[in-house]
Symmetry: C2
Subunit: 233 residues, 2 copies
């Protein structure tokens, strides 16, 4: 018998597709909780204000799931998305700037653990907060202890909630700490390297994107509805 041929190379999906997978997953979890067994791309799209062709295209990056005229098995599609997004295993997360308000809010946010991300260490560089106990997570450690903790604990993702001006100071210790991914909330665009993937989330950018829509409307150019983007697209 012939050996199995390697699968033909598929193009990597765009980030917008990956983000929509996350939205599909959340919705599929809800459907599964409600006992729904099957959903069509049309219904999935309608509920999420997407185009059915877009939904099918997103899922087609990862193989053929649906049955024509029947739809997707809710459980199978959900399990497949979990696998694509690498969510079968818990990912360990640490927060840098845990003494600040946003850092504390994220440290205590219960939504991450439901989705298989565990905040398991907290860091800051301010001596005034180092040693403070955060309920259910632990004491805030000095940023100097980051590399050792990453190694011992298996932390993969850092969440940065420090001011933009503080990034330079901690940049090297963070990038060389052994983590593989960073979610940066500071309004300073950090760049990814070969070893560390960085996503930048600037909360003000979100407000500015809304301001743009308001401004369009004020100028009478268009109704808001014509500018409805898919999330994060």
């Amino acid at each position: 018998m012939k050996k199995t041929e390697p699968a033909p190379k598929k193009p990597l999906p765009p980030q917008a597709t990956i983000r929509r997978l996350s939205v599909y997953l959340r919705y599929l979890n809800g459907l599964d909780g409600d006992g729904v067994k099957v959903i069509s791309s049309h219904d999935l799209a309608r509920r999420l204000a997407l185009n059915p062709a877009q939904v099918r295209k997103d899922l087609a990056y990862f193989g053929e799931f649906g049955k024509r005229g029947v739809g997707y098995s809710v459980k199978k599609l959900r399990d497949h998305i979990v696998k694509i997004l690498g969510l079968q295993k818990m990912r360990k997360v640490a927060i840098i700037g845990a003494g600040g308000r946003l850092g504390t809010a994220l440290a205590l946010y219960t939504g991450f653990e439901k989705r298989n991300f565990k905040v398991c260490a907290l860091f800051d560089k301010d001596p005034a907060v180092i040693g403070n106990e955060v309920d259910g997570v632990g004491r805030i450690l000095s940023i100097e202890e980051l590399p050792r903790t990453v190694k011992e604990t298996g932390i993969e993702i850092l969440v940065l909630t420090i001011p933009a001006a503080a990034i330079k100071e901690v940049h090297d210790i963070i990038m060389l700490s052994g983590v593989r991914a960073i979610l940066n909330f500071a309004p300073y665009k950090m760049l990814s390297t070969e070893d560390v993937a960085v996503h930048n989330v600037d909360l003000t950018t979100e407000l500015e994107a809304l301001s743009y829509l308001l401004s369009l409307r004020e100028s009478g150019l268009t109704s808001l509805e014509n500018n409805l983007p898919a999330d994060n697209e």
Copy 2:
């Protein structure tokens, strides 16, 4: 003399372009602060890890700014982006769920005001927190007072930091309050209407997008660097 012809209709830019404008703006503000007068699309792109052609394409949606072989005037480009994003005037913002941790963190976040968004009212539905004073913003009001406050204060944007399960309860009062835009942090996709533009930001989605990159790497499919997306694309 002939009357001026109306400008030919341009396609509306995608949301990814709008988000990049926000990133350009932040960077241009820094350059202007440093006294830099002119920047090329190449340098702008390099610093922000984008493709120069992408930068030129983004800006071309809004007219011709750069001089070939010279570059963009930092001040002019910045002022133009401010106008495109509707940031010449302050936009008033209210936070719903201000008694919660994320709500409090955002109410006290000083970065919004620097970028011309003013948090000027706070709401919650929990009687235990209504009436509490938040430094520099004011007392937390009952959600019932939202429509009156929107009308009196001219609030345009609501930031929702309530749990997904609480959205149903406040949905109608929010959508009918007279606001024009909503930034929703709850992990429940709210849909825009003709009157109200909604952007959904799910912080766990950001972690899931990073998990996807980690998973790709674990499977040996590709290096992280080949998957570097522009922010929010």
